[in-house]
């Protein structure tokens, strides 16, 4: 186990595990954390997992770990690793099973004052319009050909079918359509699993939440995003559902025999990988892009139904009930990007597993309205606590491959949470705090209790003090829909 004494302090918010820590490390680990958060992570295996990730061939710079880090499988959650493109490797386990799990934020011009009496009705309508829960599919039954289309086009498929606007596409990472998607690299099982699930939330830590924009820290950025203090906003957190899980499982399985062929030795077989210029690496990149596009379409279709839910309750009641997309970010993904490493511009594949892209001002990947302020970075808190809207900085580009944290990060296992917290008690507590909850199961609710997570405010304080992002607005939950 890595202990605090193994770490070299770079600053109050940055620490290093040097390459000398273990013989198979190709690069060091850089951890962004306050001293308090660091103590949390030395209790589980997250740092050991970060060290394991340092064995991947083709890594550049260092493996970064965000302050919301916690133990995962293969990579730690909160891990960012960049491998030189195309000769470096891509590792499906470094992206995760829920490919392009991500979050989007929609803003509104509905003031809390006008909307507060309708929150109960909105909760019921969202629950009715947006399918959620274990194994639950969406409103659409697609053919295999349709699923292939979703995988090729992502949010554009949603637009072609009346579920998206041009602005929605523009305000989604990569326009909601990752290049290079080729459904020929998907297994029949992956395609089959995609047939019923477009526009479905799923379960676990996925949610839809109505929030109050409680405090604005950066008026200029908030104005560009259409966020006003005292108005309602909506977050959607979900991913690529069964199709994405199947893609990752298929490729982690098929790459088991491939690593030896390329002479790659790994400390954990969940880290299996292939050079991006190999047939196996190219196949995974094409399949991953399909799953990523499926997830973009999924969140877009859910947004459409959330808009319908708002319309069904608020049309004729408030002047403007529309929800506009602020931004949609992926936090489990591999992206081909260009970054500056040791003074040179290098094309890399940035693996972000439980980390959010946080491009700074001036990035050409941003829509025109965000070029001056930087990319909106969405950091959902745990259920019942604040969420944050941040913006990417130039420093993030220089120090973390343009990445920031993705949430609060767990500290307590699900079984511990269930032992300590009863779903019914938690429900009552949240309702006493004025938060309306619609949950599929009490057990699921207890597992996601705020006490099982780190303090999101401290995580956000850390990334902002480390310079990886800047605060724009704080959101407070009003209604939570969980599968």
């Amino acid at each position: 186990m890595v202990s605090i004494t193994d770490l070299k302090k770079i600053s109050d918010y940055e620490w290093e595990i040097p390459v000398s820590y273990r013989a198979d490390m190709r690069v060091p680990v850089r951890i962004f954390a306050s001293e308090t958060l660091l103590k949390d992570v030395t209790r589980d295996k997250s740092l050991e997992q970060a060290v394991n990730a340092c064995a991947l061939p083709g890594l550049v710079g260092s493996v970064k770990v965000m302050p919301d880090m916690h133990q995962g499988y293969g990579f730690p959650i909160g891990g960012v690793a960049a491998t030189r493109y195309p000769e470096g490797v891509i590792s499906p386990g470094g992206i995760g099973y829920d490919i392009n799990c991500g979050v989007r934020l929609l803003g509104s011009r509905i003031s809390y004052h006008d909307g507060k009496s309708y929150l109960g009705e909105l909760a019921t309508a969202l629950n009715k319009f947006c399918p959620s829960g274990v194994g639950t599919g969406g409103h659409h039954s697609l053919s295999t050909k349709d699923v292939e289309d979703v995988c090729r086009k992502g949010s554009r498929w949603a637009k072609d079918n009346g579920f998206a606007t041009d602005q929605d596409l523009r305000r989604t990472e990569d326009g909601g359509q990752l290049r290079g998607a080729d459904p020929r690299f998907l297994s029949p099982r992956a395609l089959k699993r995609g047939m019923e699930q477009v526009g479905s939330l799923g379960a676990g830590n996925h949610f839809i939440e109505i929030d109050l924009v409680s405090q604005v820290f950066d008026q200029k950025a908030a104005r560009a995003m259409g966020l006003n203090e005292g108005d309602l906003a909506l977050q959607i957190h979900c991913g690529s559902r069964g199709l994405g899980h199947q893609v990752c499982s298929d490729y982690v399985k098929s790459l088991q025999g491939v690593v030896a062929r390329y002479g790659i030795e790994l400390p954990d077989r969940e880290l299996v990988c292939a050079p991006m210029d190999s047939p196996e690496g190219e196949a995974y990149l094409a399949a991953m892009a399909c799953a990523a596009n499926y997830a973009f379409a999924n969140r877009q279709v859910l947004s459409h139904y959330a808009r319908e839910a708002f319309e069904s309750v608020l049309a004729g009641v408030v002047k403007d009930w529309h929800l506009h997309l602020v931004y949609d970010v992926a936090h489990n993904i591999g992206k081909i990007e260009t970054h500056e490493v040791d003074g040179k511009s290098v094309k890399v594949c940035v693996h972000r597993k439980g980390a959010t892209r946080a491009f700074g001002p001036g990035s050409e990947d941003l829509p025109p309205e965000y070029i001056k302020i930087g990319q909106p970075v969405l950091v959902p808190g745990s259920m019942g606590t604040s969420s944050w809207v941040l913006r990417g900085t130039s420093e993030a580009m220089a120090r973390s491959f343009g990445s920031s944290c993705h949430g609060a990060g767990r500290v307590m296992s699900r079984s511990q949470a269930k032992k300590k917290i009863f779903g019914e008690d938690l429900l009552k507590q949240l309702e006493r705090d004025g938060i309306k909850i619609q949950a599929g199961s009490m057990r699921g609710l207890a597992e996601e209790a705020p006490a099982a997570y780190k303090d999101v405010d401290e995580v956000v304080e850390t990334v902002t003090k480390a310079g990886l992002a800047a605060k724009v607005a704080q959101l407070k939950p009003l209604v939570v829909i969980k599968g």
Partner: protein, 140 residues
């Protein structure tokens, strides 16, 4: 099945689920791992009468660890996609890392928890004085 010689136990994992499984031989280890996975899925209520649907599984892998993951994935796929809970009527595991299983299944109405995947994380089947043991991490 003898409780002492085969069983599973949930381990602490910050975000996902991990079980330790033990069995007197590989067959018992694989069967107990399947029981453990179904337990984590939260299948509490199902109709008896496992003979209604029959199925077979035929798999091969590079090693026993890989074979175990494939076996669990097959059962998980049938559970999450077809809502079928299968009991294993006959399981034969061969030294060339292949297996054949005869299954009898029953339709379930629901399960409590989505398991996204069975991972290879730190996967290692260990020989013990009692037989075999393995830790398996499930992504949820």
């Amino acid at each position: 099945m003898n409780e002492k010689l085969a069983g599973f136990e949930e381990q602490s994992h910050t975000a996902d689920l991990e079980i330790k499984v033990w069995g007197e031989d590989l067959t018992s280890l694989f069967l107990t791992a399947a029981d453990g996975m179904f337990h984590l899925s939260g299948i509490e209520d199902y109709e008896e009468g496992f003979s209604a649907v029959k199925d077979t599984i035929s798999l091969d892998a590079m090693d026993y660890e890989g074979l175990l993951i494939l076996f669990l994935e097959e059962l998980l796929y049938r559970l999450t996609e077809d809502y079928m809970l299968f009991s294993i009527e006959k399981l034969s595991i061969n030294t060339d890392f292949s297996l054949k299983a005869k299954l009898k299944g029953t339709q379930i109405k629901s399960y409590q928890r989505d398991i996204k995947a069975v991972t290879y994380h730190r996967l290692n089947i260990r020989e013990t004085s009692q037989g075999y043991e393995v830790n398996i991490v499930f992504d949820i």
